[in-house]
C-alpha cells in the first residue's frame, strides 16, 4: 500500500541542510556540532517514525520532480530501504560522536564534517530511491562527496588513493548509467518494482547486457573481486571515514544496488529462468574465500579490515544471488550485522592508533591491558565475524546456509564453513597478541613518532570518552542483533517484511 508522504524526502534533506549549515557556520565549533547533532537526531527520528508503518506494510512515497514520463526523481521508503536507512542513520549518530573525538585538532574540519553529512544524506537517498535514475543520481553524488574525505590528509599517498578510488567508482558509475539507460530503453520504465520491470519476451542477450552493466556498475562499490582494488588503498582516509564509508555507507550502497538489481529490476522469478544468478553467486563465493585469504597476509590493521570487508560484502551478494527467501533474508540482515561489527573494529583500530600510534598487527602485543574495554569490543566483533552463536554474524551464516540448502547449493555451505575458519585465522592472532603477550618495552619512541599528534596521551586510561562510548554501543548492538534475531519487533522483523514485500518472495520465517 503506497502512501504519499514527505518523510522519505525529509530524511536526506535534513542531512543536506546540515551540510549546508556546516559549510556556512563551520568555523564555529559549537555551531558545527550543534547542527550536526540536531540533523542526525532529527533524521533518526524521521526514519524511526516510519518504522511502524513499514512493519504494517505501508510504503511511503514522495515524488520530487518528473522530467519526462517514466523518468523522474522520486523517493520511496519500502521495507528494504527502511532497513538500510535505519542502519545508516543510527550509525551516523554514533560515528559523529566518534569523529568529533577523533578529528580533534585536525585541519580542515569544516570540509570534513560538511562532506561527511553530504555522504550520509546521499546514502539515505539511495536507500529510498524509487527508481534507477534516482538511485544513480545519489550513487554518483556519493562518489564525488567521498573524494574529499579520502584525500583528507592531502599527502601524496592520499591523493593517489583518491584518484584510484575515483577511477574505479566513476568507471563503475559509467556502467551503471549505461545499464540504467538500457533498462529504460528495454522496459520503458525505471521504477524499481517488486517483480522486476522487464516483459517476459525481452531478448535474453539484451537482458544479459543490462545485467552485466548494472552488476559491474554497482559491484565496483561492493568490491566484488576483481573490482575490489580501490578499497584497501582508500584506507588512507581518516578512520571515521573508513569506518562509516568504507565499511558501511559506500560499500553497502554497492551491495544494496546489486540486490536491488537482482530483485527489483529483474525479479527473482525472471532471473531464475534466465540463469544469470549462479555465475554471480560463484563470483561472490570466490570473493568470500579470496578476500579472507588475502586478509591473513596483511599486517597493516586497516588493510586487514579492508580485505575482511571485501570478503564480508560478498555474503550479501551471495545471499541475494541464491534467489531463495532465506538467502535474501540473510543478505538483508547482513547489511546490519556486518555494519555494526565492522564499525566497532574500525573504531577500536582508530582509537588504538590515536592513543598509541600503533597501526600494525605485529605491534599490538599486550594492548588489552592498555585498552581493555576497546579490546573487549573488538573481541565481540571478531567473534561475530567468525560466526559464533549469540553474535550477529551467526544469524547471517545460519540463514545463508539454510538459504543455500533451499537452493540445493550445498557447496556454499562448505564455503561458509571455510570462511569461518579463515576468519578465525586472521582475527584470533590479534586477540592472542592483545591478551596473552606482554607489551614490548618501548625501544626508541618510534611508535610514538608514527602516531604523530594523536599519540600524546601515553598515560591516560583507555581513550577519550567520545571515542569509547560509540565503541561500546556498537559492540552492544552486535550482541543485541545476535540474541534477538527471532524476537518480534527487532530488526529481523523488518528484514522479513522486506523479503516479502520488497522482493516479492514468500515469507522466509513463520
Amino acid at each position: 500500500m503506497d502512501v504519499v508522504d514527505p518523510r522519505p524526502v525529509l530524511a536526506p534533506l535534513l542531512s543536506f541542510a546540515c551540510a549546508a549549515l556546516v559549510f556556512a557556520v563551520g568555523e564555529s565549533v559549537f555551531w558545527r556540532r550543534f547542527w550536526t547533532f540536531l540533523a542526525a537526531g532529527a533524521k533518526l527520528l524521521v526514519v524511526l517514525s516510519m518504522l511502524p508503518g513499514t512493519l504494517a506494510g505501508t510504503v511511503y512515497v514522495s515524488h520530487v520532480v518528473t522530467f519526462t514520463p517514466g523518468v523522474s526523481i522520486a523517493l520511496r521508503a519500502d521495507a528494504y530501504g527502511m532497513f538500510f536507512a535505519l542502519v545508516s542513520s543510527t550509525l551516523w549518530v554514533l560515528t559523529t560522536v566518534y569523529a568529533i573525538g577523533y578529528m580533534r585538532g585536525d585541519k580542515d574540519r569544516v570540509r570534513f564534517f560538511g562532506f561527511f553529512a553530504l555522504c550520509v544524506s546521499t546514502t539515505v537517498g539511495i536507500a529510498f530511491a524509487e527508481n534507477l535514475l534516482t538511485f544513480f543520481l545519489f550513487y554518483e553524488t556519493l562518489t564525488i562527496c567521498t573524494y574529499p574525505l579520502v584525500v583528507h590528509a592531502e599527502t601524496p599517498q592520499a591523493l593517489r588513493a583518491g584518484r584510484i578510488y575515483l577511477t574505479y567508482t566513476l568507471l563503475g558509475g559509467g556502467f551503471a548509467l549505461i545499464g540504467s539507460v538500457m533498462t529504460l530503453d528495454l522496459a520503458g520504465t525505471l521504477t524499481l518494482s517488486q517483480h522486476g520491470v522487464f516483459a517476459a519476451d525481452t531478448p535474453t542477450l539484451a537482458l544479459a547486457a543490462v545485467f552485466v552493466a548494472l552488476v559491474l556498475g554497482f559491484g565496483v562499490k561492493a568490491a566484488i573481486m576483481p573490482l575490489h582494488g580501490w578499497l584497501p588503498i582508500a584506507m588512507v582516509a581518516p578512520t571515521p571515514v573508513s569506518a562509516l564509508l568504507h565499511a558501511v555507507a559506500v560499500v553497502k550502497v554497492g551491495a544494496f544496488g546489486v540486490t536491488r538489481v537482482i530483485y527489483n529490476v529483474f525479479g527473482a522469478e525472471q532471473l531464475q529462468t534466465l540463469g544469470f544468478a549462479p555465475p554471480l553467486a560463484l563470483l561472490a563465493g570466490f570473493t568470500i574465500l579470496a578476500g579472507s585469504v588475502l586478509a591473513i597476509r596483511q599486517d597493516h590493521l586497516k588493510r586487514r579490515l579492508a580485505y575482511s570487508t571485501i570478503s564480508q560484502l560478498s555474503y550479501i551478494l551471495l545471499g541475494a544471488a541464491l534467489l531463495t527467501p532465506l538467502g535474501a533474508l540473510a543478505a538483508i540482515m547482513h547489511v546490519a550485522n556486518q555494519a555494526f561489527a565492522k564499525i566497532t573494529m574500525f573504531f577500536v583500530v582508530g582509537a588504538i592508533a590515536k592513543e598509541t600510534g600503533k597501526t600494525h598487527v605485529s605491534e599490538l602485543a599486550g594492548i588489552a591491558t592498555r585498552m581493555p574495554w576497546s579490546m573487549a569490543a573488538f573481541t565481540v566483533a571478531a567473534l561475530s565475524f567468525v560466526g559464533l552463536p549469540l553474535f550477529a554474524g551467526f544469524t547471517t551464516k545460519w540463514y545463508l546456509a539454510l538459504g543455500a540448502l533451499q537452493a540445493d547449493a550445498w557447496w556454499f555451505v562448505v564455503v561458509m564453513l571455510a570462511s569461518s575458519f579463515l576468519n578465525a585465522a586472521y582475527w584470533f592472532p590479534i586477540l592472542h597478541l592483545a591478551y596473552f603477550r606482554a607489551p614490548e618495552a618501548p625501544t626508541d619512541g618510534a611508535n610514538d613518532a608514527r602516531g604523530g599528534a594523536g599519540a600524546g596521551h601515553p598515560h591516560r586510561w583507555e581513550t577519550s570518552k567520545t571515542l569509547l562510548v560509540p565503541i561500546v554501543i556498537c559492540a552492544a548492538y552486535v550482541v543485541l542483533l545476535g540474541v534477538t534475531a527471532e524476537v518480534p519487533g527487532m530488526p529481523t522483523s523488518v528484514a522479513v517484511v522486506a523479503v516479502e514485500r520488497s522482493f516479492g518472495l514468500e515469507a522466509p520465517l513463520p
Partner: protein
C-alpha cells in the same frame, strides 16, 4: 493579430544593438559608465526575453512580421520553443557584464572600455537575432554581427598572439559565413523566397535537385565550422584561451551555439523536402563521437586551465552534434537542453577561471597549486562546474548526458552511448588533477599564497551560476519540458 509577444519580439533584438550604439556616446566622458549602461541593457533584454518566454508558455509560438509585411514578403521573426533559449542567453550576458567591470581594471586601458562593452552588446543582439529570425538572409546578417564582434573580442586584450588567433578565427569564420551566403543564394534561385518556412515548403513541392542538396550541404559544413566540430575545430582552442575570460565565457558558452542553432535550421529546411537526411545524420554521429573523445583527449595534455576549458568545449559540442545526429526524441531533447546547460556550465567555469587568473596572475595548473585555500568560494564554484561539465549527477550536465545516452539506445546505436559515457569520464581524469592542485596541494607561488578572494562584482556572478548548475541538475525537468514539444514537432516534420 498583433499580440504582446509579436509586438515586443523585434525589440528583443533591437534593444541590445541600439544599446551598443549608445555605449560610446554615454561613455565619452567617463569610461566607467559604459559598464553600467551595458549591464542595464542586458538586464532589460533579459526581462524582455522572460516576458516573451512567458507569452510562449501561455499562448504557444508566435511570430512578428517586420514592417507589417506578412511572410514571405517581409522578414519574419519567429519565437518558438527552441528560441526560448534566448532568455537564458541574455541572462548569461547579464552575469558576464558585471564580472567584466572589475576584470577590465588592469586588463584594458580605459579608452577601450566603451568599444569592449559595445562589442559585447552587439554580440548579444546578434545572437538573439540569429536565434529568433525566420528569414534566411537575415540569418546571414545576424550571424555576421555575432562573428565580427567575436573576432574583435578575441583580440581585444592581447597583442600579437591574440591578433593571430583572432585572424585564424576570422579567416575560417569568414569562409563559413560565405558558404552560408552562397547557400542562401542557391536557395533563393531555387525558390524565389527567403523565408525559412516558405523555402522549405517550396523545396518540398519541387523536385529534389542537386542544387538544394548543395545548399543544405554548404549550410551544414558552414555551421559545423562555426560550432567547431572536430576536425573543423582548429580555430577554437587558441581563440577561446587567449581572449579575456569574460569573452572566453561568451564565445565558448554562447557563440559556438550559432553553429548548433544553424544545424537546427538546416533540419527545419530539409523537413518534408524528401531529401534523405540519413547520410547527414550518420556523419554527424561519427563527428560527434569523435569530437567527444578527441576533445577530451586533447584537454588532458593542457596545463593552461583556459586552454583545457576550450578543448572541453569541443568535447561538449560533440555531445550536442551526436544528439542531433542520433535524431531520436530523447537524443534531440538532450542535445537541445545541452545547448543551454553547456552554456551555463561553461560560463561558470570560464568566469571562475578568470577570477582566479585575475587575482593570482597565473593560469597554469602547476602555478595554481593551493589556490582554493585563498579563494575557497571561487574554487568551489570551479569544482561544481568541473563536476557538471563531466556530466556527473546531481548537476546540470548529467541531465543532458542521460538523455543523449538514452537517445543512443533508443536509436539502436548503443555504441555511441558508450562513447558518450566513457568519453566524458576520460576528461574527468584531467579535472581531478585540477581539483587536486587547487584544493589539496600547498601553494608554490607567493602570489597564490597571498591571493585574496575576487571582489564581489566578480564573485557573485560566479557563485550564482555555480548554484544554478546544481539546481538545474535536480530541476532539469523544466528545460526538458520546454523543449520536448518542439522536438516532437520537429521529428514529426522530419517524418519520424
Amino acid at each position: 493579430m498583433t499580440t504582446l509577444g509579436s509586438t515586443l519580439l523585434p525589440w528583443l533584438v533591437a534593444l541590445p544593438l541600439v544599446g551598443a550604439a549608445l555605449v560610446p556616446i554615454v561613455a565619452r566622458h567617463d569610461a566607467r559608465r559604459a559598464g553600467g549602461l551595458t549591464f542595464a541593457v542586458a538586464l532589460a533584454t533579459t526581462a524582455l526575453a522572460s516576458i516573451l518566454v512567458a507569452q510562449l508558455a501561455s499562448q504557444g509560438p508566435f511570430s512578428a512580421d517586420l514592417g507589417g509585411w506578412t511572410a514571405p514578403y517581409g522578414i519574419e521573426l519567429r519565437f518558438d520553443r527552441f528560441a526560448a533559449w534566448t532568455m537564458p542567453l541574455a541572462a548569461l550576458f547579464a552575469f558576464v557584464i558585471p564580472f567584466s567591470w572589475r576584470y577590465l581594471d588592469g586588463t584594458l586601458p580605459r579608452e577601450r572600455w566603451a568599444p569592449f562593452y559595445a562589442l559585447l552588446l552587439l554580440n548579444l543582439g546578434g545572437l538573439l537575432g540569429f536565434s529568433v529570425t525566420g528569414d534566411l538572409f537575415n540569418l546571414f546578417v545576424t550571424m555576421e554581427v555575432v562573428s565580427l564582434s567575436s573576432y574583435a573580442l578575441v583580440a581585444v586584450a592581447g597583442r600579437g598572439v591574440a591578433a593571430w588567433a583572432a585572424l585564424k578565427y576570422l579567416l575560417l569564420g569568414a569562409v563559413s559565413s560565405l558558404l552560408v551566403l552562397f547557400a542562401v543564394g542557391l536557395l533563393f534561385a531555387l525558390t524565389g523566397s527567403l523565408n525559412l518556412a516558405d523555402v522549405s515548403a517550396r523545396l518540398a513541392a519541387a523536385e529534389p535537385s542537386g542544387a538544394a542538396l548543395l545548399a543544405l550541404a554548404s549550410l551544414a559544413v558552414a555551421f559545423l565550422v562555426k560550432a567547431a566540430v572536430f576536425p573543423l575545430h582548429v580555430w577554437l582552442p587558441d581563440a577561446h584561451a587567449i581572449a579575456p575570460s569574460p569573452v572566453s565565457a561568451v564565445l565558448s558558452g554562447l557563440v559556438v551555439k550559432v553553429g548548433i542553432v544553424g544545424l537546427l535550421r538546416v533540419l527545419q529546411l530539409a523537413a518534408g523536402t524528401g531529401i534523405a537526411l540519413e547520410p547527414l545524420n550518420a556523419v554527424l554521429m561519427v563527428l560527434g563521437a569523435t569530437a567527444i573523445v578527441m576533445g577530451a583527449f586533447l584537454a588532458i595534455f593542457q596545463d593552461d586551465i583556459k586552454l583545457m576549458l576550450a578543448y572541453s568545449t569541443i568535447s561538449n559540442i560533440g555531445y550536442i552534434v551526436l544528439g542531433i545526429g542520433l535524431a531520436s526524441p530523447f537524443a534531440l531533447i538532450g542535445a537541445f537542453v545541452h545547448v543551454f546547460n553547456h552554456a551555463l556550465i561553461k560560463v561558470t567555469l570560464f568566469l571562475a577561471a578568470g577570477a582566479i587568473i585575475h587575482q593570482t596572475g597565473y593560469r597554469t595548473l602547476s602555478d595554481l597549486h593551493g589556490v582554493a585555500r585563498r579563494m575557497p568560494q571561487t574554487a568551489a564554484a570551479m569544482a561544481i562546474g568541473a563536476v557538471s561539465i563531466v556530466g556527473l549527477p546531481p548537476t546540470a550536465g548529467f541531465v543532458c548526458k542521460w538523455y543523449i545516452a538514452l537517445g543512443a539506445f533508443e536509436a539502436d546505436q548503443g555504441g555511441y552511448g558508450f562513447a558518450l559515457v566513457f568519453g566524458a569520464l576520460f576528461i574527468f581524469v584531467y579535472y581531478v588533477r585540477m581539483l587536486d592542485a587547487f584544493f589539496f596541494r600547498a601553494p608554490v607561488r607567493p602570489e597564490v599564497a597571498a591571493a585574496v578572494e575576487a571582489p564581489w562584482s566578480m564573485r557573485a556572478p560566479v557563485l550564482v551560476l555555480a548554484a544554478a548548475c546544481l539546481v538545474l541538475g535536480v530541476l532539469g525537468g523544466i528545460p526538458i519540458g520546454f523543449v520536448e514539444p518542439a522536438v516532437v514537432d520537429l521529428l514529426a516534420a522530419l517524418g519520424r
